[in-house]
Symmetry: C2
Subunit: 261 residues, 2 copies
């Protein structure tokens, strides 16, 4: 049975302040918990229903993860999901390490993406298109927010992120070596016609900007290739997750990598 | 001031049953209300703050729309938005008329799309890519649900929809004339390589299936072209709104229509 202190600790992780203080975050629901148990993340506590624990004991026992059995009602009381009849895991956050795109690789740069649902969707899209590195401005939603983790549908276990001053990062990499920096603007090149391919493969970065204001001037100044998704109707804009998917789909169409079988 | 009966009537429109009974639905928030006032929809009542009314009187007065002034708190009490400092409109629903794709046109067929947020996003994407006709299975979320209207960001004023037996519809059109029916499957043709272009332009339909189960067998049997969005990473699936955008983007890339300037 969970102690009062455990309950208090778990509930504190709903808030960014305490996630940072404790270096821990929550993963909830059957699918996400199964994925995190099979990932390189360190799980420090699993709270699970009897049924979930029995089905997944091979994952927890090998790693000697402490397990507490709880009812769905208890899982819903300590967690953030409206309905959870499986499990909740307390997981250690990763160290905040800088990420550099390799030649031929595309990394995402998120400039002030505020909505946790959008960020979670972007993790899932990045994972689908094989993008492994995401650089986030300090003002971007916290990736460890339970809404982000949940919306990513397990993809948070397969992508890496870094939070920091992305404008400064782009300024510093520009001094070091040649690289391609793509950004979506209203007056860019049609993404259907863009080749994305250079004579020699260079590191690539795709910047996606804030939901209302787009890419900030401080970050936008480093863009080497402005691109635009062509519009054929009356909608004023596309959601930032949709735009990310469409641009990455066009990029993958042009660069020669085989799809996942 | 709003009467008790008006308040009761407006609040009843939160529910599908009463929307159908009264043939009316709610549009909320500055942007959506401005769009509906400029559309062919008939607005039977506008509830607005003094400021919103003054700014938009040219739209309401010409059409002799009855207006009630209300505070943001009142708008939030009668409506569904957490925050609304502008307006709410009561709007007549459109007649449920069948829609046929013309030669060279692509219509969307939604087979059991349950989530109102997904449906709203799909309306916005359809509008971006110039798709004007959406055929919905009876089990698809109600387009007049305030969450759909809100998520569509005004695009509900620029697309048309029909609700009915989509399997029967597809069976009937197949007897009449040649047409292309696309559907997303795991074992289809790579959408990057699909031409979408035939010797002579035919009417086209793109079927998008349920969030968990995909396209049903009853509807899937009419698919003439199975397609697949290639995957390059570990995510198991893409959200149905994302998949719709990626497929329509590939279609528009292949068919020769000029983008909206």
């Amino acid at each position: 049975m969970l102690s009062k202190n455990q309950i208090k600790y778990i509930q504190s992780l709903h808030q960014k302040k305490y996630r940072q203080q404790h270096g821990a975050f929550l993963v909830e629901g059957a699918k996400s918990v199964q994925e995190v148990l099979q990932s390189t993340f360190r799980v420090s506590l699993l709270v699970a229903t009897e049924a979930f624990y029995k089905e997944n004991a091979h994952l927890t026992d090998r790693q000697r993860i402490p397990v507490e059995i709880a009812s769905p009602a208890e899982l819903e009381r300590i967690g953030t999901l409206e309905s959870n009849n499986a499990a909740l895991a307390v997981v250690s956050t990763m160290e905040n390490q800088p990420l550099l795109a390799e030649p031929g690789e595309m990394a995402l740069v998120l400039d002030d993406i505020r909505d946790p649902g959008n960020l979670g969707t972007i993790l899932r899209i990045a994972d689908w298109y094989g993008v492994r590195k995401i650089l986030c401005s300090e003002t971007t939603a916290d990736v460890y927010n339970p809404k982000v983790i949940s919306a990513s549908k397990g993809s948070f276990t397969r992508v890496n992120w870094w939070y920091g001053d992305v404008a400064r990062f782009l300024a510093e990499t520009s001094g070091r070596s040649k690289r391609l920096i793509y950004g979506a603007f209203l007056d860019g090149e049609n993404v259907h016609q863009l080749s994305f391919v250079e004579d020699q493969p260079l590191p690539g970065y795709l910047i996606m900007g804030n939901e209302s204001n787009g890419i900030s001037a401080a970050v936008g100044q480093y863009v080497t290739h402005k691109l635009t998704i062509p519009r054929f109707g009356g909608a004023e804009s596309l959601n930032v997750g949709i735009a990310t998917a469409v641009i990455l789909d066009n990029w993958r169409r042009r660069v020669s990598v085989s799809p996942t079988p």
